[in-house]
Symmetry: C2
Subunit: 408 residues, 2 copies
């Protein structure tokens, strides 16, 4: 973690152990750094799995195999490599992933497709098989670790460890959801957009877990952006061990399904926000709320056009209530909008209403709001009931420094 801690960082939450989940970390030495970089998480037999993956079509072998293997619904282990994404490495990259899957499945006596692998870091260098093998052997001998150690180990350019926790009462039992996530650049909402893992002791049928994760993803991870760039490795996996002993959730008709779905979405939203809070060079956390659109999806697309606009992001970095740039971004989104019905505000104060600057616009509260760390931009299109909130960070000198120096 070479860069200074983000000013928007949040402390790591107290996540208790999750029954049926055993995290361990080790040093594989993928890069020349003095830290653990391999995370090995063992999962109890019968653990259900669901996943969402990057839509980048130049995705890594890890993503290809993960997408394929999630279909059978069960998982026994997760291996996360940090420092090497193994993307764009051809058959050698694929062989490295398959070797990890074979090694772990032999150790656990489980089908190979129940071993999930993620890698993140530099693109184009095949993951060294020997380092991975030795790293896994070391992890198998290591003591189990806490969630913070696991979160630190999956990180790369992250400046702080990120975790989330929620509880829900399901079928009379309290179930726990714990999650870790990494990611700070190459973040755009076209699926998972980072590596994130959710673990719960709840019993959930794989198909229903997938349904819930996909729905939560659409309102959380798919609503964040740091720099509009979509990684080749993005993955979010959810694992449900069933150790809590509740009657397995199989649909919204199952008792407690609503509570579990809410807790899952809560954890996803916390994780998504943390990724934005560690956006490269971020100084401000920005929520863009678009209302009055023709549909929720249209509102989301307009929100992302605003959140991805370099001119809007630099204006916020400069604490400038430049609503004209917001107008521009609305207009370029390719979604229905009417210039003369558009209203734009900052921190709850309208700067322009129905296509014109407000005659009695008082800039003082807006200026005060923009000096803070948590910024809100409100856009009302005045067309319909569609609504969405997306989250991003400002674009600063820090982003340039980090990315013009990062070595390929």
């Amino acid at each position: 973690m070479a860069h200074p801690v983000s000013p928007l960082a949040r402390p790591f939450p107290a996540i208790p152990p999750i029954a049926g989940v055993t995290p361990r970390v080790a040093r594989a030495g993928y890069k020349d750094w003095g830290r653990c970089d391999l995370t090995f998480i063992e999962l109890a037999e019968g653990t259900a799995v669901a996943g969402v993956f990057t839509r980048n079509i130049c995705c890594s072998s890890e993503v290809e195999l993960g997408r394929q293997n999630v279909a059978q619904g069960h998982a026994r282990a997760l291996v996360v490599n940090a420092g090497n994404s193994n993307a764009f490495t051809g058959y050698r990259g694929r062989e490295a992933v398959e070797a990890i899957m074979a090694q772990v499945s032999a150790h656990l006596g489980c089908p190979q497709e129940q071993v999930f692998v993620s890698s993140t870091g530099v693109i184009g260098v095949p993951l060294p098989k020997d380092k991975a093998k030795a790293g896994i052997e070391a992890a198998l001998l290591a003591e189990p670790c806490d969630w913070q150690a696991a979160a630190e180990t999956i990180g790369t350019t992250d400046t702080f460890a990120k975790g989330a926790m929620a509880k829900a009462v399901v079928d009379g039992r309290t179930v726990t959801l714990g999650a870790i996530i990494k990611g700070s650049g190459m973040i755009a909402p076209d699926m998972a957009t980072m590596l994130g893992y959710i673990f719960t002791d709840a019993a959930v049928e794989p198909g229903f877990l997938q349904q819930l994760l996909s729905a939560a993803n659409q309102r959380t991870f798919s609503c964040i952006t740091v720099d509009s760039d979509t990684s080749t490795s993005d993955t979010v996996l959810a694992f449900a061990t069933g150790a809590a002993g509740n009657a397995p959730l199989s649909s919204f008709d199952s008792p407690g399904a609503d509570a579990f779905a809410a807790a899952l979405e809560d954890v996803c939203r916390q994780m998504a926000h943390l990724v934005v809070r560690d956006g490269e060079g971020a100084q401000k956390f920005i929520a863009v709320t678009v209302s009055g659109a023709v549909s929720d999806e249209s509102a989301r697309k307009i929100g992302l056009a605003i959140a991805n606009s370099p001119l809007v992001k630099t204006a916020i970095a400069g604490e400038d209530a430049n609503w004209g740039r917001v107008v521009m971004a609305v207009g370029k989104a390719g979604e229905p909008a009417d210039r003369d019905r558009l209203s734009i505000g900052f921190g709850g104060t309208w700067a322009a209403r129905e296509g014109q600057p407000l005659a009695d616009y008082d800039e003082a509260p807006v200026a005060a709001h923009l000096k803070g760390q948590d910024i809100s931009i409100e856009v009302d299109l005045g067309l319909g009931d569609g609504r969405a909130t997306v989250w991003t960070c400002d674009l600063t000198h820090g982003y340039i420094s980090i990315n013009a120096d990062y070595r390929s």
Copy 2:
């Protein structure tokens, strides 16, 4: 012109007077600056006009009226206001444009729809009618000026005056094309993406002029991007006075039509490159050539995904041959691509071929190339014959400084 001159600047070319075109400049005082900011260009009777305009749906009244008026095919005058874009100003903004059109048409005794108006600068402040009126009166009394003075006057945050020139032999006569353009931020290829004006003494039927301009636009202005942000005011207009006396060009069957079309596209490409060369904070001019795509349009879209990627642009700023980021950008473009057929090079040297890093990759020539000012990125998709080149600049601290400080 507050910022230092771009290191990529080009000297203003020697553009001769164009018969039938009379430029004048004046000081309207739209901003508190000691320079001319109103350009008035009178055109001979019978001048044909064609135009391409921003697709931003929150466009200015100038764009709305210009798009409407270009349909009747003729022009007698062009007025360009600098410092105030008059966008998002409701009915008051529209009134200001109509007042200018009325004033000029009364003076010239021409239909109002033959007066074209452009404005650029801050969004959201209605163009002050009294200043425009006085500015036009001053311009009418001014001596005609040269093209460099006109190019300087239409500029806003531009750091150097931009012009282009070409000649063609049409129907046995040498015709001249002279052009001026402004633009340095809020540049993305969704039509014209800046204010540009082409003047020629050739005789061209309006419909054919429009056909040629639209085609040239697709291969030039629609192939550049600075920051992916699409202005609400972008406009390119072409004016053909006919003073050269050639038999009017009406289709590609007209003698000299091909030569004229080539000269027009040449001028458009020169102008497009100049806009990129004045991209905010630009230190390097980048040409991205995509070949082997399923179509030219697919190649263009992939080229723009690369050219708009903040991670690619910062890598070039850092002189880092980070082809992994190029892979990422290809994969997020949403166009057909096959990771295992993809080849990527810099300055004519392949770094990766068919989905894998080159075993004998020699980074020395690439490193030397990246230290220069003119950078090329080559991408071969290995799928078909589609091909396109797009142009952009790097993303630097200068962009952040300019845009985090620019006041709304």
